[in-house]
């Protein structure tokens, strides 16, 4: 019984142990930032490797916490993204005063996401969600003396508090009409009458806030631009991926009785998200803001995959998120290196980047090709599976408009590539010396982008673990 407890909770326990270790390191004698960073990256690597061993299905705390192979895989994806972000932010953190606090905040949010993914009860889900957003708002303010950083944190905490208030009101009504908070019992009580639908729409808007689907996306670009690059990449990859994982499984299991309702909602949300994300990405000049709108557009594609409501729907979403982790982090890795060393964040600054930094420009190019969905990279296969899963519903208008939007997105992704390779610049970004850890992280991302698309067993493995309606 007790061994079961430790095996089922192992990923959460490892994170907790790392948090306590960091607290003790903080209390101990002064060490140089390099030593601390090397230790932390080693811990995170152990954490990632430990996730692959001894996974087991099971339920704990009277259905509050449940885990299975798919959940473990999702947590491993998040662990991988956390390790990559930590390695990439090496050159920024090396010069920062509060290295350990940064990791304490991010690891607490990761712990919250793990509990949220594993939750089998609305109370547990809410606690995990809050644990994953409140420290993140503090982390967005990590550059304490920058005006934009505090503005971003203020916008984030107020909008996330508002969205969780909406979510809670929905939960309270769901509790009122069904008398239970457990996921497995909830699906038996839900019917499509007005009160249920009101509660359901409140819940959906809470979710849409967190994944920044379009009517609720207004905080995204500002927070991404103002927050430090490491936090931005964490927000756009890890936090979004975790909420999407929960979103899929909640829609497919708890809200199964309302499937036609949420199909219509997702239809509207995904169209609006893709179109508006793309149109706003066209006119951006700040690189982080540009990536913010591009990630909004990517969420629109993911929503199409979810609307397929089949086994392929869930598998394609998780597969796409895995690819999205690699391609978005490759792009953010280059941006964070440039921003940490030179402080430049505008697309215009990247003109003639190729003449000084050929390696980084190639990595950024591959990442942007993958985000746009150009065939040899994995991004193409990811989007292909998403649209295929969506097309299973027979709604070819939606798929057609989404495919057209992929063409529009080529314009803004390739604009950056053109700036790097073809434009001339009086004073291009000087040659950057890349430390070993960020370089390694960038190589892993590039290998991931190329290999994940070509190895068919990755998708097959995810497909065999997922389930549809």
């Amino acid at each position: 019984m007790l061994t079961d407890f430790f095996i089922l909770l192992k990923q959460e326990l490892v994170i907790t142990v790392i948090i306590f270790l960091l607290l003790f390191i903080k209390l101990g004698k002064d060490r140089s930032n390099e030593t601390i960073l090397n230790w932390i990256n080693l811990f995170l690597f152990i954490n990632l490797v430990a996730g692959f061993f001894g996974s087991q299905e099971g339920i704990l705390f009277s259905e509050m916490f449940h885990t299975n192979k798919l959940v473990v895989l999702e947590k491993n994806i998040l662990n991988l993204a956390m390790l990559l972000i930590s390695m990439q932010s090496y050159s920024w953190l090396k010069m920062h005063k509060h290295v350990i606090e940064f990791y304490l905040l991010l690891l607490s949010t990761l712990l919250g996401m793990f509990f949220m993914i594993s939750s089998g009860n609305l109370l547990m889900f809410y606690l995990g969600l809050e644990l994953s957003t409140i420290p993140l708002a503090a982390a967005a303010n990590f550059d304490l003396d920058k005006r934009r950083s505090s503005e971003a944190a203020m916008k984030m905490i107020i909008s996330s508090a508002f969205s969780s208030a909406l979510l809670l009101f929905g939960i309270s009504i769901v509790y009122g009409v069904s008398g239970t908070l457990v996921f497995s019992e909830l699906s038996l009580h839900l019917v499509a009458d007005p009160l249920h639908l009101f509660a359901f729409i409140l819940l959906i808007s809470g979710f849409a806030f967190k994944i920044s689907a379009v009517p609720f996306h207004l905080w995204t670009a500002d927070v991404y631009e103002g927050a430090p690059v490491a936090v931005t990449s964490y927000l756009s990859v890890v936090s979004k991926a975790a909420v999407l994982f929960v979103f899929v499984s909640v829609l497919y299991t708890v809200f199964k009785p309302l499937a036609t309702v949420w199909y219509n909602i997702l239809f509207v949300l995904s169209l609006a998200t893709i179109i508006i994300g793309n149109l706003f990405a066209l006119r951006q000049n700040n690189f982080k803001r540009f990536l913010a709108f591009s990630s909004i557009a990517q969420v629109g594609f993911i929503l199409i995959g979810i609307s397929g409501s089949s086994q392929a729907g869930m598998a394609s979403v998780i597969y796409f998120i895995l690819i999205y982790v690699f391609s978005n982090l490759a792009a953010f890795g280059v941006v964070s290196l440039v921003s940490a060393i030179t402080g430049k964040e505008n697309i215009d600054d990247y003109k003639a980047f190729y003449s000084t930094n050929p390696l980084l420009s190639w990595i950024l190019t591959i990442a942007l090709f993958s985000l746009a969905g150009v065939p040899p990279t994995a991004g193409f296969f990811g989007k292909f599976f998403l649209l295929m899963a969506g097309a299973a519903k027979g709604n070819y208008w939606l798929i057609g408009i989404a495919a057209l939007n992929m063409v529009v997105s080529f314009y803004y992704y390739l604009r950056v590539v053109k700036a790097m390779f073809m434009d001339s610049n009086e004073e291009p970004i000087s040659k950057l010396s890349i430390p070993i850890l960020p370089k390694l992280a960038l190589y892993i991302c590039v290998i991931g982008i190329i290999v994940t698309g070509l190895l068919s067993w990755v998708y097959d493995h995810i497909f065999s673990l997922s389930s549809g309606i």
């Binding site: 609305l122 109370l123 809410y126 606690l127 809050e130 409140i134 420290p135 708002a137 503090a138 303010n141 304490l144 003396d145 920058k146 005006r147 934009r148 505090s150 503005e151 971003a152 944190a153 203020m154 916008k155 905490i157 107020i158 508090a161 508002f162 208030a165 809670l168 009101f169 939960i171 309270s172 009504i173 509790y175 009122g176 008398g179 239970t180 908070l181 670009a221 500002d222 631009e225 103002g226 706003f280 006119r283 803001r289």
Partner: protein, 104 residues
Amino acid sequence: MNGIPLTHIIFLSTALFFIGMYGLFTRRNMITMLMAIELMLNSVNINFVAFNKYLYPDKLDGIFFTLFIITIAAAEAAVAIAIIINLYRSHRSIDVEDATEMKF
């Protein structure tokens, strides 16, 4: 004992929720906006307690949920106020209209 019908209480909590939302949208002082959000969270608490007492008195799910909401609201307010103090140091103001460097 059941002098007040459940509908009255739900009316109260829903009204409180939307008053809070209205306050959040119209007020421009960050502290007041936080208070508006607290109002919304408290309306959820009323909902939970009322549903628990009137409809499912044999279980305690709603009461426990309320306790957790109160705790988390306190944590959220603490972080938010820390952020606002830091914003005040750089902007010399806690009006949201003054924190508009990033747009569109």
